[in-house]
Symmetry: D2
Subunit: 157 residues, 4 copies
DNA sequence: TTTT
DNA sequence: TTTT
């Protein structure tokens, strides 16, 4: 089955800090809004228009913890994920919909030059975490090692 | 300004035919739903689960006309565009949101072996339109030539 | 580290069957060429030009086996991966380069209506494999279960 | 025709300044290398490995001029484009290949806090250019207005 | 040749 | 609610 693709890629700024939710089984989930901007010149009026689009980003487990630890309101991030429209019953009995981006991968784009405890970053230094750590790929259980190896098998070619 | 990215890429099947809307100035707009599927095995129960996600696709002007002409319910398509969340006032006074994919580019993935007037397609032949025609790139006024040249200038390098 | 992105997405047709290579440790690797097309109208001459671009695709382990089993020359596929430029010493002593797409994910786009042993596919049915099976995500050791769960944890949100 | 996709998306740092080439007809072209990084832990040895991948980026006309003006070695950029493998005859008579990324869109990711003449940027300020200007979409002739409107038509939907 |  |  399938033969389909559902992919979203965003570069934008966090409109708020990461909000965490913890579950009984040990899982967790982080949510934050990302803003993207679009600018164009109105053909009729000639005036410059800027629109901001807001995206509801959802990240799980290990990835959520990394985001909560290193991201804050205003930071720039690249996120890649899937579109998912949740629905729920509103108090008035109507069905409501909310479209979210469920993150599969992300990378931080805001240089971190200062660290609380830490090694004064030069230039564009990133948090003290590996690519491995903040590249999350659909891992479902946080207790497990992340293990989304990228060609890490040293095959001889 | 900007430094942001807002990109969606989908491969899926049309859940319905293209619905057209025509505007006074000569512009038009087509809407259709696309379904994408996701399958996974539930860890607890071991059962196979398939989820279908529905996406509201919006395409404009020349691109809308091409889609209306060549696409029908059930067809497979690749679309690329931007996420846009519209809001409106519901009858109950509440603000409602609807997230749409505003198409910037698309290509048909359903082989068309039969044509009303025409040339029996070999293998995977596409509709009688060029890549130029169905590659729309943000053109705003349908009367204009589409003209989104792709390296079509024969520069000597 | 990192903060970088290296992503390629292709939809195209196989120019040849999948060529497999097996390694001692149990790993394997499949290679095949994919063609993409680009069309445009030359501005000076007004003539229609079509260019074909060839891409060297490399897929590993479980994914390679799935591709070898279900793909053949002429089939259409979506592949997603990373650009990697290999270099080697040519016989003449010069360094040569070859750029490859190392696959991280793929999905088949050619409808399979007939199967050797098999269940006549309805509509657009795909090979007898799950999304799980042909969605490979960087798994390095084929003996392992693939396990790239996509939200398969039934978290209550 | 077509029904294919040829897309590359990179976030990386410039390994060198933009090299410009000007043509007789008024067109121009800029070239620069982009580095992307990949990190993983070798399974056998447990050691951390970082690989750098180099990409040959080619940007045309107006986009090239914007890049030359605002980008320098070390800057971070997002580029989106198509893979294109050039071939040429080497002196030894052999055919050589070089794979390039032909840019269709880009956005700068290095904050510009200082400007030659200018307004001291706060935080993450970008160059004095609009999204319109550095979003190039296949425009072929630089004398023309760029005009890749993004929904700039104020249609009432 | 970049960056962390 | 971000950023430029």
């Amino acid at each position: 089955m399938s033969g389909t693709l559902n992919k979203v890629m965003l570069i934008g700024h966090l409109g708020d800090d990461v909000k965490m939710h913890y579950f009984e089984g040990g899982g967790c989930l982080g949510r934050f809004p990302i803003a993207t901007n679009e600018s164009y010149t109105n053909r009729q009026t000639g005036e410059r228009v800027t629109n901001t689009e807001w995206h509801n980003v959802v990240v799980r487990n290990k990835g959520a913890e990394v985001c909560e630890k290193y991201l804050k309101k205003g930071d720039k991030i690249y996120v890649e994920g899937r579109l998912k429209t949740r629905q729920w019953q509103a108090e008035d009995g109507n069905t409501r919909y909310s479209t979210e981006i469920h993150v599969q991968d992300f990378t931080f784009l805001t240089p971190k030059n200062e660290h609380p405890g830490g090694y004064q970053g030069q230039q564009q230094s990133q948090p003290a975490q590996s690519d491995q750590q903040h590249r999350q790929s659909n891992q479902a259980i946080p207790q497990q090692p992340i293990g989304q190896q990228q060609d890490g098998d040293d095959l001889p070619f």
